[in-house]
Subunit: 128 residues, 2 copies
C-alpha cells in the first residue's frame, strides 16, 4: 500500500512538475515555430511532439485554446485553406506584433534561464 502510493505519487508527481515547469513555455514554442513559416494546428501538435524528445509536447486541449488566444491578441492570423482537399486546414501566420511579442518572450525566457543558472551555480554565496 505504502509502496503503491509512493510509486503512484512519484509518477504523478513527475508528470505534474514537468507540466508546471513547462508552463508558459508553450506560447514561446508555438510562436517560435510559427516565426519560421506558417503551420496549421494539427501540424504544430506533431512538430512540438517530436521536438526535444517530447519535452515540449502539447495536447490538443492546450494548443487550440492557445492559438485562439494568440489570434485574439493579434499575434497570429488564421486562414482556412482547402488545397483541393475535403477537410480544410486552418493555417496560422505570425504577425509583426507577434514577432515583437516573441522577442519579448525570448528575452524573458533567457533572463529566467540565466537567473536559474546563476542560482544553481553560485549556491551558498548569496547572503541574507
Amino acid at each position: 500500500m505504502a509502496e503503491d502510493t509512493e510509486e503512484a505519487q512519484g509518477s504523478a508527481t513527475i508528470a505534474r512538475l514537468r507540466r508546471e515547469l513547462a508552463r508558459g513555455t508553450t506560447e514561446l514554442a508555438v510562436l517560435s515555430v510559427l516565426s519560421v513559416r506558417r503551420r496549421y494546428g494539427y501540424e504544430l501538435l506533431k512538430v512540438l511532439g517530436q521536438a526535444g524528445e517530447g519535452v515540449l509536447e502539447v495536447k490538443e486541449g492546450t494548443l487550440y485554446p492557445l492559438l485562439h488566444r494568440l489570434e485574439d491578441s493579434g499575434h497570429i492570423v488564421a486562414t482556412w485553406e482547402a488545397e483541393g482537399r475535403a477537410r480544410p486546414r486552418k493555417y496560422y501566420v505570425i504577425t509583426p506584433d507577434g514577432r515583437a511579442y516573441l522577442a519579448m518572450l525570448r528575452t524573458e525566457w533567457g533572463g529566467l534561464v540565466d537567473a536559474m543558472r546563476q542560482l544553481l551555480d553560485t549556491l551558498g554565496e548569496v547572503q541574507p
Copy 2:
C-alpha cells in the same frame, strides 16, 4: 489614454508572462537554496528577491503555502527557534527525500532548457 492602456496592458502582460514562465521554478529555487543551508521563511523571501535581478522574486502568498506543501510531502522539515528573541523563526531544513526530489527537479529543468534551446536554435529544420 490609448498610451496608458497600451502601456498598462504591456506591463500587465509582461508581469503575467513572467509569472507563467517562472511557474514551477519556485520549488526548484527554494529547494536549491535550502540545499546549501537551513533558512527561515522571511529569509528565503529576501534571498530569492535579490537573486537574478529579481527575476526569481517570490511573494509571501506563494512562499508560505509552498513551504507547507514541501513539509507535508517530507521534502523539508521545520523547526521553531527563538534564539533568545521574542519573535521566533521557523527554520526549514532539506531532508534526504528533498535532495532526491531536488535532483529530479534539476534534471527536468535541464531537459526543458535543452529542449527550448534546441528548438530556438534549429528553428526551421524540424519537418512535419
